[in-house]
């Protein structure tokens, strides 16, 4: 399938600050493409440039064949954007909000209400159709904002941090909705700083740090970059005091992580280091309860590629806008 989004050497400066640094990538029709990076990496700025909300400082992008800097109205007809803050109109009901969106997109009068009702049904919002947007829970607001972005049947849905600030159940429901939309043939571009979310939802991922793309590939291929690194996890009945200093300096151990009574040895020579480690632990009176080898995760790959602490990715940024509750 062809590229529905083509980004070429796009850059954005805010005053002297470089937010996005000469990035290029393409998104194929029908795929879920994820932008993964910590807060402040340039994810939202990139989305805003692609949908014609922000002018790039240099470079350009094409969405469904339309130049985002010269044909913004055409681009906006093709896309739906769900910004990080759910920003529908607080005073209007769910149904009124969707009908208003339909009006703005020039959908024929007789079709507006039908489409709105169908979306409310599809997104599990039927019983809330007469509630003002400001009275909905955060999860329902998010759903309605996505529904509003789909009212004109866009080819591409942009989701900026779709599950940020949601409780576990709402986030899970939303991920299911995203996957359902993909099954219907929608191309989805999403940004996230949750590594498991990117891994679950995306066909391909671009890892972006400080405005630069470090890698673009499938989650599997990115994980494969870590194939040489393996983890030996040993469960103990108790962890001997000062274990790290007692362990022999075995060649080939890259890192030791102690997590309560589990010790993880990161190594590239599992076959050579396993026996000395086990002998050493037993020699220090530790009773081994379990031994596992772990495959590298996308998180491991992310850490390796970016050099960032993966804990950084667990920090939510405060949600802007006045419509959240």
């Amino acid at each position: 399938m062809g590229a529905l989004i083509q980004v070429k050497d796009i850059t954005k400066f805010y005053g002297p600050t470089l937010a996005v640094d000469h990035i290029s990538f393409s998104v194929k029709e029908g795929e879920v493409f994820g932008f993964l990076g910590p807060n402040g990496a340039g994810k939202t700025t990139t989305i805003r440039m692609m949908v014609g909300l922000t002018q790039p400082s240099s470079g350009t992008a094409w969405v469904d064949g339309h130049n985002v800097t010269k044909e913004t109205v055409e681009v906006k007809k093709t896309i739906g954007l769900v910004p990080e803050a759910s920003n529908l109109y607080g005073e209007l009901t769910s149904l009124e909000n969707l009908i208003y969106q339909a009006e703005l997109y020039g959908i024929a009068r007789k079709e507006r209400k039908d489409r709105a009702l169908r979306l409310l049904e599809e997104f599990g919002l039927k019983e809330h159709q007469d509630k003002p947007f400001q009275k909905l829970s955060r999860g329902l607001k998010r759903r309605l904002t996505i529904a509003a972005a789909l009212i004109h049947h866009p080819k591409i849905l942009f989701l900026d941090e779709p599950t940020t600030g949601l409780d576990v159940m709402s986030a899970r429901g939303l991920r299911k909705l995203i996957l359902d939309s993909k099954k219907k043939g929608l191309t989805i571009f999403l940004t996230t700083h949750y590594i498991p979310e990117a891994e679950t939802l995306c066909d391909r991922i671009a890892i972006i740090v400080q405005g630069k793309i470090r890698v673009v590939d499938t989650p599997e291929n990115i994980r494969d970059q870590m194939k040489e690194a393996e983890v030996l996890e040993i469960g103990l009945d108790r962890t001997p005091e000062d274990l790290k200093s007692k362990l022999p300096s075995v060649d080939g151990i890259d890192k030791i992580v102690i997590d309560e009574n589990r010790v993880r040895f990161h190594t590239r020579r599992l076959d050579q280091v396993a026996s000395p480690i086990i002998r050493s632990l037993e020699g220090h009176g530790a009773k081994i309860k379990s031994i596992n080898t772990l495959s590298p995760s996308l998180e491991d790959a992310f850490v390796k590629i970016t050099g960032l602490d993966s804990e950084l990715m667990k920090i939510d940024k405060p949600v802007k806008g006045g419509s959240e509750s």
């Binding site: 109205v73 906006k76 910004p83 803050a85 005073e91 703005l104 997109y105 020039g106 419509s323």
Partner: protein, 246 residues
Amino acid sequence: MREEIKRSYFIAKKDMGAYYLKPPLISWGLMLPIVFVFAFYFRNPAGIKEVVPGLIGLTLLFSCTSMAAIVITFEKRIGALERLLLAPLNFRTILLGKALGSTLFGLMVAVFITLILIPLMGLSVKHFWAFVLIFILSGLAFSLLGILISVGVKEVFEAMTMSNFFRFPMIFLCGVFFPVPSMPFPLPILSYLLPLTYTVDGLRHCLLEGIPMMPLFLDLLILLGFVVLIFALSLSIFKRRIRQDF
């Protein structure tokens, strides 16, 4: 073009429902002219007729600018303006929609006050269609003036301050209570630069006997000029602001 106007109307309709047709705004829109009418009636019951055109003009000015001056700043702050910017609309359609909402509200309040004042004061309307045109053009000019303020500032409180900075001098400078030609120099120069002057003069043509400042067609033409000029100015500032802020 037809499609653009239609979508501007939808924006206006949404704004009417969401902001304008709320009790606080309606009561504020009605309160000001009523207070002025009473104040002038008690001061000089015989001369109240003379200030009716000015009172109608003031009603239009205050009701058209009340929300227009803050609507874009407010929506920008809560993130709702982004929804309009994301829709396939050009800047012109968005501005026109915002101005239309405000104009419709202003016209509603002003027509209500006019329908009370005209029979109450025993006045009649000459040049009916010109009278209607003055209402429409003035409503648009004042709403756009409000929008101009709204697109030019960053915060809601700045918009409130700026709109009063423009509105209150107009009460004294635009012939509402004192004829412009009788003002000391250089005040008339300022008067001629403000749209309310031509609203009041045009309404005098339609409601009172005597000699207004200039021919009726010129009042209408100048008001139309204000509409075009303020719209062009607002559009240019709006485009620049959006590029800066987004």
